[in-house]
């Protein structure tokens, strides 16, 4: 089990479009700092963008906790998106590509899962949602190249 350092956790609010830009920025910074390469950074930031937007749009706002992980020599990041909105009644359905209760492409959840190593949804109808993703650094750490 990875041992996250709670002291290193950053919590950020998700309440507006501007917050989304800020979350992306912070996630990219954190990933770059841990040595994630440009492609991995881009994937993680994109997954974060999808999930943060779901928190905002479907969950009515909430927050994200960004935690650097260390498991022996392995380095990773965990992002936990929490809201107290209507919750996700049918997780399998929500995960299905193309399913959207709004008029989106319905690729957010399914796409995010393909962009990271693990994605878990903890939610029941009416009880809010916690969507957690973990991405591990693959290969040798690269120099900081993050932008945007």
């Amino acid at each position: 089990m990875p041992a996250p350092d709670p002291a290193a956790t950053t919590t950020m609010p998700i309440g507006s479009d501007a917050d989304l830009a800020w979350v992306r920025h912070r996630v990219r910074q954190c990933a770059a700092g841990l040595g994630f390469g440009l492609v991995q950074q881009t994937k993680l930031v994109t997954a974060a963008s999808e999930l943060a937007r779901n928190t905002l749009v479907h969950g009515g706002g909430g927050q994200v906790e960004i935690t650097p992980l260390a498991d022996g020599p392995r380095r990773g990041i965990r992002l936990a998106f929490t809201d107290s909105g209507p919750g996700i009644g049918d997780v399998d359905l929500a995960m299905t590509d193309g399913y959207s209760s709004a008029c989106g492409l319905g690729l957010g959840l399914g796409g995010a899962r393909r962009l990271v190593d693990e994605l878990t949804v903890d939610s029941r109808a009416g009880q809010g949602a916690v969507v957690t993703v973990v991405a591990w650094l693959t290969g040798a750490p690269t120099d900081r190249t993050g932008r945007g």
Partner: protein, 295 residues
Amino acid sequence: MQVPEQAAQGPAARELGDFLERRREQIAQRWADVPLFRTVFTVSRDEAVEACKVVVDALREVASSGRLDDVAAPGFDPAREQLGRMAASRARGGVSPAQVANEAAGLRAAAAELLRGEDLPAHEAREALLALTVLMGTLRVVIMETTVLAGDELIARQRQQLLEVATPVISLWEGVVAVPLIGTLDSARSQVVMESLLQAVVERRARHAILDITGVPTVDSLVAHHLMQTVAAVRLMGAECIVSGIRPAIAQTIVHLGIDLSAVLTRGSLADALEYALARQGTEVSRRAAGATPR
């Protein structure tokens, strides 16, 4: 920003550097009348002209170093302090950073006009014009950065937002308009982009519209959705829309997300997109030799 076409920009960047050196005086004279300079250097026009020359020289330096799209290029350094002072002065006058950015966009038009008047072979003229577009886009971001730094009450969060302001539609060539997008394409902004692009297509009778996303750091499903909607709307106006500047990391991410962009016409770089558009329009490149005035 890391872009694959950097190598290909080499000769065009040098051409542009030569042009900026050759026309230093004329460019400075024209820029001195643009609000950005005119309203700041009010004591004498000569002062404004001198200030313009500092910026032209910086641009020439950046062009010669080939780092056209690098906001951090050392060539900008000699001009940064002055740009900061100008920005601060505009801010004191109640002008918003977004307005300053628009004024900065106006500098391009003046320089482009002079560039079109140069007696260059058509192909070189086209490449140099593209290089100028990229370089002036970068200058715009540099100015915005100094503008934001100038207002110290603005915290980092606002700075991030400000970098995401709308981008003007540029007439690249006869019948070809382009929007070099910089920053995030959220719903509000993509609405603005779509409206101004459609308006430009009508007003400038464009048959091709290029959306260049080299400066967009993240393409998630919403951004992709917006891009597809814009492409569809442009198509309805009877023009063809090309998306350029999808970087390798973003291409991989789009594929994993599961977004199908196969219905969207894409090209690697802005230059490739323009080339495609011109080929489609049957423009004989050699026909527009010296003296032609493309818009």
